[in-house]
Symmetry: C2
Subunit: 185 residues, 2 copies
């Protein structure tokens, strides 16, 4: 998903500034699936504006003069709907934590335990973030609700798995032995 589509997707939920969009993808409902930073938001907004897919909202002038609030236009709505119809790229999941944990035997026991705790905390935080963030019950939100439920399910499953299987990681230490002996493979 390119920055422009991500911005349109944010704006269809309601008027917003670049800053608002950032926050929406930072800790809002989209946080789990896509990220975007200022460096791509502002150029994207400029481009979308030039293409007539978004317009500066009325509130932009009244509120704070230097805050630029945008609204999606009808053309923008159509463009987004069109863009959503293109076949999605495959999911990508990147996790340094799990990569490191898969080499748990190369780390001292207390370090792998700390890593696992941190990972668990992170996942739990995501779970709570999903429960906290905007429970807007509008009639068109069934997609959002489905996805949120999916997220909740996944994070809950991860936390549960960790709690039930942490003994695997907390196995007795054999780090030193490994580094010098693992000559097989």
């Amino acid at each position: 998903m390119d920055a422009k589509t991500l911005c349109l997707g944010a704006l269809i939920l309601g008027d917003a500034s670049g800053y608002d969009i950032r926050r929406l993808y930072e800790d809002g409902s989209f946080a789990c699936f896509h990220a975007i930073s200022y460096g791509s938001i502002y150029p994207a907004l400029k481009a979308l504006h030039a293409e007539g897919l978004i317009a500066t909202a009325a509130s932009s002038h009244t509120d704070r003069p230097h805050k630029k609030v945008y609204t999606i236009t009808d053309a923008g709505r159509r463009a987004l709907a069109e863009r959503l119809k293109t076949p999605p790229a495959a999911d990508s999941y990147r996790s340094d934590s799990l990569y490191i944990l898969s080499f748990a035997h190369l780390l001292p026991r207390d370090m792998r335990r700390a890593l696992l705790d941190a990972y668990r905390a992170e996942q739990l935080a995501m779970l709570e973030a999903i429960d906290d963030c905007g429970q807007t019950e509008d009639e068109h939100a069934f997609g959002r609700q489905f996805v949120r439920g999916l997220g909740r399910t996944v994070y809950a499953a991860v936390v549960k798995y960790i709690d039930e299987n942490r003994h695997m990681i907390e196995a007795p230490d054999m780090t030193d032995a490994v580094i010098t002996q693992e000559q097989d493979a």
Copy 2:
């Protein structure tokens, strides 16, 4: 995780060529967490070789002359162990499918259903890939086993969730109404 670490991680599992490493991250046990392409593998291998962290394996000369098989050196093993101790970056999960699905109401019913089916199939394939791929039961593999179990749990949870909640996405169609009327927000 940079390409060099990813290559070291692959080589600690056993000797391999650039091509082998690619496949390991393509459909092997690492596939779920990290990806890497030829364009980064070959330069990384060259650099690692120059640094003495990997060496050309004996089999490289005997087998097929133009195939370069590498082994990790002791220095490489130490470098990897060290690299794994640096604090991991936060996980990132990117999903076009879920992003699109969160705007399900902007798509015609049959299209969202198709999208969901495709997504389910993809997740199921990942689940099966985990079960298939190398069940090497070596004593040091507890980290790998933990991570694999986690992956299995997650993918299974996703498939189950989809099966139990697909009715949300298969709700009656109101696409046309939405595109022109959703003026709120």
